[in-house]
């Protein structure tokens, strides 16, 4: 296994553990590790994180779906404005400096850490 593949496997494992244990997406783990450990620039890290999250969330939704916990109509009601928001968010991201994304992410991480401890 190449060291690069090994690093991706570690990121996947930590993100999966975080997601499974605390019920939130792995994005707060994936983006920093892609930037700090694999040398990604901010925009690439966030774009690649979104693709990875699709896989993680799809597996989780399928597992929950088997127990009848997924409400498809309700998911669409919140996902449709969510899709409009993500189109705007990615467009906005192309217009700000890459390092500003790191700055915003840093604030989000502190908030997430505080929420975990409280």
């Amino acid at each position: 296994m190449s060291s690069r593949l090994a690093r991706l496997a570690v990121i996947a494992t930590v993100a999966g553990a975080f997601s499974g244990l605390f019920g939130v997406g792995g994005g707060t783990i994936i983006v920093p590790l892609l930037i700090l450990w694999l040398g990604y620039e901010e925009r690439e890290a966030t774009g690649t994180s979104l693709a990875a999250i699709v896989g993680i969330a799809a597996l989780g939704a399928a597992a929950h779906g088997a127990y009848g916990n997924v409400h498809v109509e309700e998911a669409l009601l919140i996902a449709l404005p969510g899709a409009a928001g993500v189109v705007a968010g990615t467009a906005l991201q192309q217009r700000i400096p890459e390092r500003a994304v790191s700055g915003v992410f840093s604030v989000v991480l502190v908030a997430s850490a505080v929420a975990l401890v409280l």
Binding site: A9, A12, V14, G16, A17, F18, S19, G20, L21, G23, V24, G27, V31, P32, L36, Y40, E41, R43, T46, G47, T48, S49, L50, G55, A57, A58, L59, G60, H64, G65, N69, V70, V72, E74, A75, L76, L77, I78, A79, L80, P81, G82, A83, A84, G85, V86, V87, G89, T90, A91, L92, P97, R99, V101, G103, S106, S112, A113, L116, V117
Partner: protein
């Protein structure tokens, strides 16, 4: 559904998507309380339903970022496909370590990442003008 609830749902969905697109997260952290508050779902059903919403929002976001040249699809797929290993590892760990210790450990990891990213944002400001999508791995 009341108009106020629909407006709340749209507001939360937009905010979650906007934040998700900006920093590359799925938005579940906002979807879950939104579904509980405005559609009266229970916590477990809200988390499960949120995951389906994250699939859609993540897919649209990844598609947009691909258009901007900011997607390394192969790496994204590798992380997505291998993540169940983490779910298993996390569940196994939860049986031997208290949830409180796990939460504190993850919080510490997040604070460390926050420190490193903040330093990067402050120190490398001048390097931030590279066009998007330039591969450097």
């Amino acid at each position: 559904m009341e108009a106020a609830e629909l407006a709340g749902l749209i507001g939360v969905g937009l905010a979650a998507g906007l934040a998700g697109g900006l920093i590359g997260v799925g938005g579940g952290v906002l979807f879950v309380p939104g579904l509980v508050l405005f559609l009266s779902l229970g916590q477990l059903d809200a988390q499960a339903t949120s995951l389906l919403a994250v699939v859609l929002v993540g897919a649209v976001g990844a598609w947009r970022q691909a258009g901007y040249g900011n997607l390394r699809l192969r790496d994204g797929i590798v992380i997505g496909v291998l993540s169940p290993l983490g779910v298993l590892a996390g569940t196994a760990t939860a049986n031997v370590v208290s949830e409180r210790s796990l939460a504190l450990s993850f919080a510490a990891v997040q604070l460390f990442f926050a420190y490193r990213l903040a330093r990067r944002a402050i120190e490398d400001k001048g390097k931030a003008d590279a066009p998007s999508g330039v591969a450097n791995g």
